[in-house]
Amino acid sequence: MDQHLKRNLLKTMVRIRLFEEKVEELFLSGVLPGFVHLYIGEEAIASGVCSALKKSDYITSTHRGHGHVLAKGARMDRMMAELYGKKTGYCKGKGGSMHIFDFNLGVLGANGVVGGGFPIAVGAGLSAKLKRTDEVCVCFFGDGSSNRGTFHESLNMAAAWNLPVIYVCENNRYAATTPTHTTTSVNNIADRATGYGIPGVIVDGNNVEEVYSAAKNAIERARNGEGPTLIECKTYRIKGHFVGDPERYRSKDEVKEMKALDPIERYIKGLFDENVCTIEEVEEIYQGIRNEVIIAIKFAEGSPNPEPEDALTDLYVMEEGIYYA
C-alpha cells in the first residue's frame, strides 16, 4: 500500500475524530440544537471505505453520519454550519446532524430513519446500471438496522439485479441501548449474505487498512458487474449512543477495554513501526486539522442564521401554485 494513501487514511480518521470531539464539546455546552450521534471509535470504517471510492461514486449514510460524509470529502465548515443550524450549512439549516447531504460528492443523505438508506442505495446502483456508468454506491449501516425489512428487500434486489452496491455494516455491538446479540438471530451480520447469494466478508473494523482492502475488492467486483458484497466491520462505539446518553446498558470496564483498540492510536503506532511517518509528521497532521476545525467553527459562528421565512423554500422544485398554509 502506498505511503501517500496510508497517510491519507490517517488524515481522514483524524479529521473525523477532531471534528467530532469538538462537536461533542459544543453540544454539551449547549451551543448546538438537535441531537448528535458520534462516530468516535469507528473512524476506520468510513475512512477505509471512502478512500477506495471515486468522487463520482455514491454513498448513503445513517443517523451516525458525520464520519461517512467527511470521509467522502465533505467540507468541515459547511458541516459545522449545518450543525449550528446556519444558512451556510450543507442543508441551509434544514437538515441538521442526521440529514447531511453533499450531492456534489455523491452523498445521498444521512438518514434519521434507521435502515432508510438500504433501498436508496439500490436505486443509485440501478441508475449506474441503466446509464452504463461505472459508478458504485456504498451503503453504510449499523448492526441494529440489519434487522429492518429494508435490509432484506434491498440486498435481495441488488443481488437479483446484480447491482454495483456495497453494503458496509458497522457492527458496534449495540442498537442504541440494546445489545445486538439479544435481538439478532445470527452471530455475524455477514452470515446473512448467504440468504442473498452474495459474498459476506468480516473484517476488523478498527483496522483501517483491512477495511480499505475489503472495500477495494468489493468495489472492484461491483464495477466489474459482479454484483453486491456485504462487508461486516467489527467495531465499537466509544461514546454514548447520542451525546448525553446515560449509558446504563453497558459497563465502564467494557468501554475501557474497547477503547484500547482505538483505530487511530493503533494505526499511528503501526505507521511508526513501518516508518511511514514520524511523530512530527503526525503532529503536523493533527495541527492542520485542528486549524481546520477552528476555521470551521469560526465559519459557522460567523454565518448568518436563516430567516424564518426560509422555511418556505426548497420543498418543491416547481413551486408555482404551491401554497404553504
Binding site: G109, V113, K131, T150, D314, V317
Partner: protein, 334 residues
C-alpha cells in the same frame, strides 16, 4: 381525437415520455410479462425492453426506495404500486424519504419520480384492495397528488407528472381503466394544479374528482331535468396543490357547496376543501357544506354492503335537494 380507454391513454403517455426522455423507466410488479394487472403497461416491455420496464420482487419498500435512489441520481422513474393499498408497505419511503428529501437537503437534490397507484372499488376486492387514500398524501408536505377522471386527462396528467421535477403521486381509479373517452391527437399536457369546470351551473357547486366526476355529472343531469336545479361540477384533477381560484369563484357564484369522493368521508379530502372554504369564503355560502364519501368502515366484500357504504348518484341527488331545503334562506323563511 381518437377514442380510447384510460389504460390505453396512460400507455400512450408512457410511450411518448419514454421515447422522448431516455431516463424515464418503469419499476413494478407484473408489468413486463403481464403488462400490468389492469393492462396499463401492455406491450411496453416489447417496445423498451425489460431493462426499462422492470418486473420487481414483491418488495414495495425497496421498489419505492430504489425509485428514489434512481431519481436522485439522474433517472426519472415511474413506480407502479399495483394497488394504492400497498403504499402502506412503503409509507416511510413515500412520506419520510421521497417527500422530504429535497427539503432536508436544503434544496440540493430533486426527486423527479411518479408513483402510479390504482385506487378505489372494483369487483368486490374487499378491505385490503379497495381503498382511496389521497387524504394521507395531501397532508404530507413534499408530494403533489393528481388523479384523472377521463382518458384525455389521464394522458395529459401522466405526462405532466413524468415531466415534473417533484415527486408526484398519480392515483388512477381501478374502475376507470376501461372507461372510454376522446383523447386529442398529438402532444398535450394537463398542467398540475389546474382543475376543470366540467359543467356550468348557477345553483350548487359540486367539487369532485376521479370516479365520482361521472356520477356527479349524472346527478346533475337528473337534477336539471327533474328539478331545474343547475349544478356546477368541478373536476379537481390535482388534489395538491388545489386550484383554489376555481373553487372559490364557483362558490361565489352558487353559494352552495357539496364535495363528493369515494374515499372515507371522515378525515377525507372533502374535509380540507370544506374547511378551506369555511375559512376563506364562508360569507358567500347560503347553506351548509355537504360532504359525500365512504362510510367509516373498511370496504366489505359483499357487493350489497359495498354498495351501501359508497356514495352513489342517488345520494348526490338527494343530498343536493336536502341542501337546498336547509339553505339559510329556507331556514329563515320557515
Amino acid at each position: 381525437m381518437r377514442e380510447m380507454n384510460m389504460a390505453e391513454a396512460t400507455l400512450e403517455a408512457m410511450i411518448e415520455e419514454m421515447r422522448q426522455d431516455d431516463n424515464v423507466f418503469v419499476l413494478g410488479e407484473d408489468i413486463a410479462s403481464q403488462g400490468g394487472i389492469f393492462g396499463q403497461f401492455k406491450g411496453l416491455a416489447d417496445l423498451f425492453g425489460k431493462e426499462k420496464v422492470i418486473d420487481t420482487p414483491i418488495s414495495e419498500t425497496a421498489i419505492m426506495g430504489a425509485g428514489l435512489g434512481a431519481a436522485l441520481t439522474g433517472m426519472r422513474p415511474v413506480i407502479d404500486m399495483h394497488y394504492v393499498d400497498f403504499i402502506g408497505v412503503a409509507m416511510d419511503e413515500m412520506c419520510n424519504q421521497i417527500a422530504k428529501i429535497r427539503y432536508m437537503s436544503g434544496g440540493q437534490v430533486k426527486a423527479p419520480l411518479v408513483v402510479r397507484a390504482p385506487d378505489g372499488l372494483i369487483n368486490s376486492a374487499a378491505a385490503q384492495h379497495s381503498q382511496n387514500l389521497e387524504a394521507w398524501f395531501v397532508h404530507t408536505p413534499g408530494l403533489k397528488v393528481v388523479t384523472p377522471s377521463n382518458p384525455a386527462d389521464a394522458k395529459g396528467l401522466l405526462k405532466a407528472a413524468i415531466r415534473d421535477d417533484d415527486p408526484v403521486l398519480y392515483l388512477e381509479n381501478k374502475a376507470l381503466f376501461k372507461r372510454k373517452g376522446m383523447v386529442p391527437d398529438g402532444e398535450f399536457i394537463i398542467p398540475i394544479g389546474e382543475a376543470a369546470r366540467v359543467r356550468d351551473g348557477k345553483d350548487v357547486t359540486i367539487i369532485t374528482y376521479s370516479i365520482m366526476v361521472s356520477k356527479s355529472l349524472e346527478a346533475a343531469d337528473i337534477l336539471s331535468k327533474q328539478e331545474g336545479i343547475e349544478i356546477e361540477v368541478i373536476d379537481l384533477r390535482t388534489l395538491f396543490p388545489l386550484d383554489k381560484e376555481i373553487i372559490f369563484s364557483s362558490i361565489k357564484k352558487t353559494g352552495h357547496l357539496m364535495i363528493v369522493h369515494e374515499a372515507c368521508k371522515i378525515g377525507g379530502l372533502g374535509s380540507e376543501i370544506s374547511a378551506m372554504v369555511a375559512e376563506e369564503c364562508i360569507e358567500y355560502l347560503d347553506g351548509p357544506i355537504i360532504r359525500l364519501g365512504q362510510m367509516h368502515v373498511p370496504v366489505p366484500f359483499s357487493p350489497i354492503m359495498e354498495k351501501y357504504i359508497t356514495p352513489n348518484v342517488n345520494d348526490i341527488v338527494n343530498g343536493v335537494k336536502k341542501m337546498l331545503i336547509n339553505s339559510f334562506e329556507n331556514i329563515i323563511t320557515t
